[in-house]
Subunit: 402 residues, 2 copies
């Protein structure tokens, strides 16, 4: 029986924390005889940022191949150190790079996709009784070049390995104790959730909640691999992300607040088929992630389009939006930085109408003006003035989470 | 025509210095059309110490394989950054690990020996017009495991590559402008030497002068590769290490002072064949480098043996020496930490007798007591009280260097 565990950068940020993780792993191994352990690691906290900084200082135009080789060293360091620490505590361990672990990717440097997994070497080392430490976030292309899978993709490495190894469980350890009904640093009443569905976790990741990498949740959902998330610093039980729980789903399982977005509007857009694509395709090509999109009802053949983007992308977005507006003969482009997005997420919404109305009336009772609304099957998002964000979060949390 | 250049850790210690080295390389490349450049790099200054420190903090017993993988990341980082910097300045460059550069070693982790060099990939990249950046200090064993060649071995990587590539020249850049007649920070009158023989450079390396790694000089001597040493920060000409210069060699080309050694003595050793081996073999097996060895004239079948070791090895050495002394029925073991070694090195000594006598009389005139003497064909070493070390260095330098 194989268990895959992944430890994040904050769990490995110092020598003392690495020793602590090693101790946990060795104790787990001794407690559960007969279980084979594959450990996926991120770079020590802060390392990747430091390396990207260095790269930006020596070069104006980063080149994918060299950047990937540079960044991949981060996980190589943490994997070797963890193997040293585990050996020092008396268990047998070996570190492997992504390439050695058989993570084969396409050639898209800095954002490679996993094509296949050749787990021969891992299985061989497990057979020898070793704990296998795999450098996450990285793989190798068919050309034999080191690739990386994108920021936060060590989660993805862990899920992909769990699938390929037919693992019993995939456990993702970080510095948070699990998934909460809201960010506990902002909502004192927030409660830890013991079980949540893939879809809810995915919506949360999309709302900027620091759950887990979205691609990793998607992959786990695709293969039906239960994901355990918890803290490497605590013995408390964490949260399991899995298929819809058998118990009746709560109406709302999570309330999120995202204060890092801005709203952009393009006014007086001629309302005809294909116009949305003409607007959003160039923005996507520039690598800008568009979040909420709202199109108002058309009047006299014209409509206004609003959407949100991360605040650090606002300047680039406006430049592109203005160019598009000229091309399609639209009106002005406006923006608003003083916004916050408050969302509620819950599988239970599907079967319970009226949830949106209840959310809007809570905001109204608290005197909070709603600037934008979008809804999906299991999520309702509202954009409110930034100054009202935390107040809205708490009010909505109080309304729905009992 | 191929030129191999090696840049040391201090030349690459910051992003600004990496940019500076890149600028030098790109300018050199533009000035000298038709020349192919292979650049060997050390880790950014301080990196290897930082990694060793981390390893010691997580583990009491370092294991070679994991330590080598950990340390090898240092040169991977600097090679990628230098490639990024060179590309950013408009030249084509690619970084290679020791393994990719074809540096095949034995399996002796942390102190591997180069067995062979397969330069196919390097030549291929050079043919494409690229500047090839090779991570120094590292190679790969026949088992496909990353190995390292020992501290300071990037010099060795450079010389070995220069030989395998049939390079025109091998240039070793660091933060010093070349080889001086004495350490310029201690002797104001010290002069830069334009040319020096392999043997003199080897003796200097053995005396603790920061010239270049001894193994690298040995290899260059074996294959007759001229080594250019100079500063990456300066346009000044450096020093060439080569066969005996055609011009008549100076009597003394270099005076060194080593204040980091201690003297150990084993008293009343029975003077019979094989006794030196019985004493020094266990010390060598413990990995302790013994420097000067002096055996006094035997009296009534007994002799006293003295030798020097690095101060940080003193404690371990005494422990071993005491054990040996018991085993061979010798007397006490003594030590002296307050010593300094002053050496003169020069090819000219071979043909000029009386150099030793001149050195001793200079020390006597300055009231400096000599505690130990050893001589070789081209070197005379004396051990003096530590407090007199610098005075002795300056007096001897003044006597011999005109």
């Amino acid at each position: 029986m194989i268990i895959v565990q992944k430890y994040g950068g904050s769990s490995l940020a110092t020598a003392a924390r690495i020793r602590n993780v090693a101790k946990k792993i060795v104790a787990f191994r001794r407690r559960k005889k007969g279980i084979s352990l594959v450990i996926v690691v991120s770079a020590m906290g802060g390392t990747t940022d430091r390396l990207i900084n260095l790269a930006n200082m020596v070069s104006k135009s980063l080149q994918g191949r060299e950047l990937d080789r540079l960044l991949a060293t981060g996980e190589e360091v943490s994997s070797s150190l963890l193997a040293l620490a585990i050996r020092s505590q008396g268990s047998s361990a070996i570190s492997l790079t992504g390439a050695e672990a058989g993570v084969i990717t396409d050639r898209a440097h800095t954002k490679a996709k996993i094509l296949s997994l050749d787990t021969g070497r891992i299985r061989e080392e497990l057979k020898r009784g070793r704990i296998v430490i795999v450098a996450g976030f990285q793989g190798i292309s068919d050309e034999g070049e080191i690739t990386t899978l994108g920021r936060g993709a060590s989660d993805l490495s862990a899920v992909a390995l769990a699938k390929a190894l037919d693992a019993e469980q995939c456990e993702i350890f970080s510095n948070v104790k699990g998934i909460y009904t809201a960010d506990p640093s902002k909502v004192r009443a927030a409660k830890k959730i013991s079980q949540i569905s893939y879809d809810e976790a995915l919506e949360m990741a999309g709302c900027g909640a620091q759950v887990m990498q979205g691609r990793a949740i998607e992959l786990a959902k695709k293969f039906g691999i239960p994901l355990f998330t918890g803290s490497s610093f605590s013995k408390e039980k964490g949260t399991i992300i899995c298929k819809e729980p058998i118990v009746e789903a709560p109406l709302v399982s999570n309330v999120t607040l995202n204060e890092a977005e801005a709203k952009v509007s393009i006014f007086r857009v001629l309302d005809r088929p294909g116009i949305a694509a003409r607007i959003f395709a160039p923005i996507a090509r520039a690598g800008i992630n568009v979040d909420m999109i709202v199109q108002n009802v058309s009047k006299a053949g014209y409509t206004d389009l609003s959407f949100t983007v991360a605040i650090e992308e606002l300047e680039r977005t406006i430049k592109i939006a203005k160019k598009i507006a000229r091309q399609i003969g639209a009106g002005n482009v406006g923006f608003d930085k003083d916004v916050a997005r408050v969302s509620i997420i819950g599988l239970g919404m599907i079967s319970h109408p009226g949830v949106a109305a209840r959310m809007f009336s809570v905001l109204a009772k608290n005197g909070i003006n709603i600037k934008m609304i979008t809804t999906s099957e299991i999520k309702i998002s509202t954009v409110v003035p930034k100054k009202d964000g935390k107040k809205a979060l708490r009010a909505v949390h109080k309304e729905f989470i009992k």
